[in-house]
Amino acid sequence: MNMDLSPLWISLKTALSATAVTFVLGVLAAGWRSGRSSRLWELFDGLVLLPLVLPPTVVGFVLLSLFGRTGPLGQILWRAGTILVFSWSATVIAATVVAFPLMYLTARGAFEQIDPGLFDAARTLGATEWEILVGVAIPLAWPGILAGVALAFARAMGEFGATLMFAGNIPGRTETMPVAIYFAIAAGDTRQALLWSGIVLVISLGVLAAMDGWTRYQRRYLARGTRGVVRGGSVARG
């Protein structure tokens, strides 16, 4: 059987890149966000969480309008000599946008589980906010952050609607596995669709197994210091 494996590599490359981007952006945004509250941040939350509730086709359409040749961002890029739409970068952007809320939400939840007294303690000990994020918040939120990474990877890997609208279906360049499955079915090639579905299933199971293993390991790792992790520091006056 002579099968073009490019959708597998494109899917993996896209999902890995999108996960890397969401990891950095999501952890930074969540770290910056946790412990603060203002109307502006609520607006920010609303904007970044939108892709979670919108149909992927709408996300794709919005991206297309923004980055298309006539779109505001697309024009800037076009003047700079680049066209994003229907390129591999577009698959990464589409996957990033839909995966980001999952990373951001899980990381934020993990950060907010940490006793805020620990951050205050670190501040009185001379630590900068950056040192606190890297040295206290991220290590303590690590299991939650990893769960976010796994979710973001799975979501990026499975991305279909926004990718199809924004990156199209160019075999060898933007055709990811979910897109390949759809077009295989559309062309009546059930065998091909079945094969791709099997590969997706194996990868997804692999991710789940890896996540489970990590959680077990992390539980052992955190059991050393459980007494301190629970939210304890009352900040109430008095």
């Binding site: 006793d115 007294g117 620990l118 205050d120 303690a121 670190a122 501040r123 009185t124 000990l125 001379g126 630590a127 900068t128 040192e131 206290v136 290590p139 303590l140 955190l222 059991a223 050393r224 210091g225 459980t226 007494r227 301190g228 992790v229 304890g232 520091g233 009352s234 900040v235 109430a236 006056r237 008095g238």
Partner: protein
């Protein structure tokens, strides 16, 4: 962190802050020197908030905080030194140790910018002083509460802060560990030359550790001064209550040394003179003398009155008796005086029939203006 805090005889903290939000206003002004200052107050009085303001954690503050000549905060001048640069050490009720770091790493946390040899020397010194040597590679979760709080204290002291703020440091510990740790804190505070503030709702802790006391009530300073002064002559009812006085009656002046105790239905001779027309008299539960004197021989001019037992709670060594003067009652909440006595005395008293006799020693009566 590289520079050593300069400690001299002149070390001092000046605080004059105000913060208001719906339903509560904190308005606190005080000065602290080298002697440990205890901040006493009921929960919600603003004790922790005051400490957090000094550490730089309270937003929307007004006023001024000066530590050792350095202006940490001045709302009028727009100065707000961030917490990390204040050189203020904070010890929390729940230790706030970093659970992912070892004891050694926790204590070294504040010395990250120091060269390794100097850092190791200072950490080892501080660990020895707090009897923590040997626990270097343990994680906080493996330690007892007392050990955790000692690690927290070491971590806080090792960067040599100019002020040490202790926020209910013993209240998460059980009684035994508590007194042990208290002894060590006592030693540590003696050796420490910065400003110390200790917040607690436990008056005995404050009494044992602090030479000076500030009493907070509903966001305001209602009393401040040397410990003995505050305990012996509390200036108002709130302070008297917070320093452990259990019995109060509204009072009206008859002449400077004689007051009418309205809630106790009697006139009382007081050694101290009443300064206002109306006020309160109070007496501590262990200052009340109960005897089995037979009825008819009471001398009201010696503040002696017949009394009936209303209720009692027996502890292993001490008994709290609730007494009503002048008449008996069946209602267990309708008592005048709460009296504490040793169990032996209580056993002896019970062999006598009621009424007993109660004496409110004029020397022990606390006279409180309104």
């Amino acid at each position: 962190m590289g520079r050593e805090a300069s400690f001299g005889g002149e070390v001092s903290l000046e605080v004059e802050i105000e913060k208001s939000f719906p339903g509560f206003t904190l308005q606190v002004a005080f000065r602290a020197g080298n002697a440990p200052v205890g901040i006493l107050g009921a929960s919600g009085a603003g004790k922790s908030m005051t400490l957090r303001a000094i550490a730089g954690f309270e937003p929307h503050l007004r006023g001024r905080i000066v530590l050792d000549g350095r202006v940490l905060f001045d709302s009028a001048a727009g100065i707000h030194v961030p917490s990390r640069a204040r050189k203020v050490g904070l010890v929390f009720q729940h230790y706030a140790l970093f659970p992912h770091l070892t004891v050694l790493q926790n204590i070294s946390f504040g010395l990250r910018r120091l060269e390794p040899a100097e850092r190791a020397r200072r950490v080892a010194e501080q660990m020895a002083a707090l009897h923590l040597s040997g626990l270097e590679n343990q994680y906080p979760g493996m330690l007892s509460g007392g050990q955790q709080q000692r690690v927290a204290l070491a971590r806080c002291l090792v960067p040599k802060p100019a002020a040490l703020l202790l926020d209910e440091p013993f209240s998460a510990l059980d009684t035994h560990l508590r007194s042990q740790l208290e002894l060590q804190v006592h030693e540590t505070l003696n050796a420490y030359s910065g400003v110390t503030l200790l917040v607690s709702h436990n008056l005995e802790e404050i009494y044992r550790l602090c030479g000076e006391i500030i009493v907070l009530d509903n966001g305001r300073v209602v009393a401040s001064g040397p410990r003995d002064e505050i305990f012996r002559r509390p200036p108002n009812v709130v302070t008297a209550r917070l320093t452990g006085c259990k019995n109060f009656s509204r009072a009206r002046i008859i002449n400077p040394n004689l007051v009418e105790a309205l809630d106790w239905n009697c006139s009382l001779r007081c050694k101290e003179q009443m300064q206002s027309a109306i006020g309160h008299v109070g007496i501590r539960a262990h200052h009340i003398c109960v005897t089995s004197m037979p009825p008819g021989v009471h001398d009201a001019s010696r503040n002696e009155f017949p009394c009936w037992l209303v209720a009692a709670t027996e502890g292993p060594f001490r008994v709290t008796a609730y007494l009503r003067m002048h008449s008996s009652t069946a209602d267990s909440s309708d008592y005048h005086l709460q009296v504490e006595m040793p169990l032996e005395r209580w056993t002896e008293l019970q062999s006598h029939s009621l009424p007993w006799s109660v004496r409110l020693d004029p020397e022990c009566l606390i006279v409180l203006p309104d």
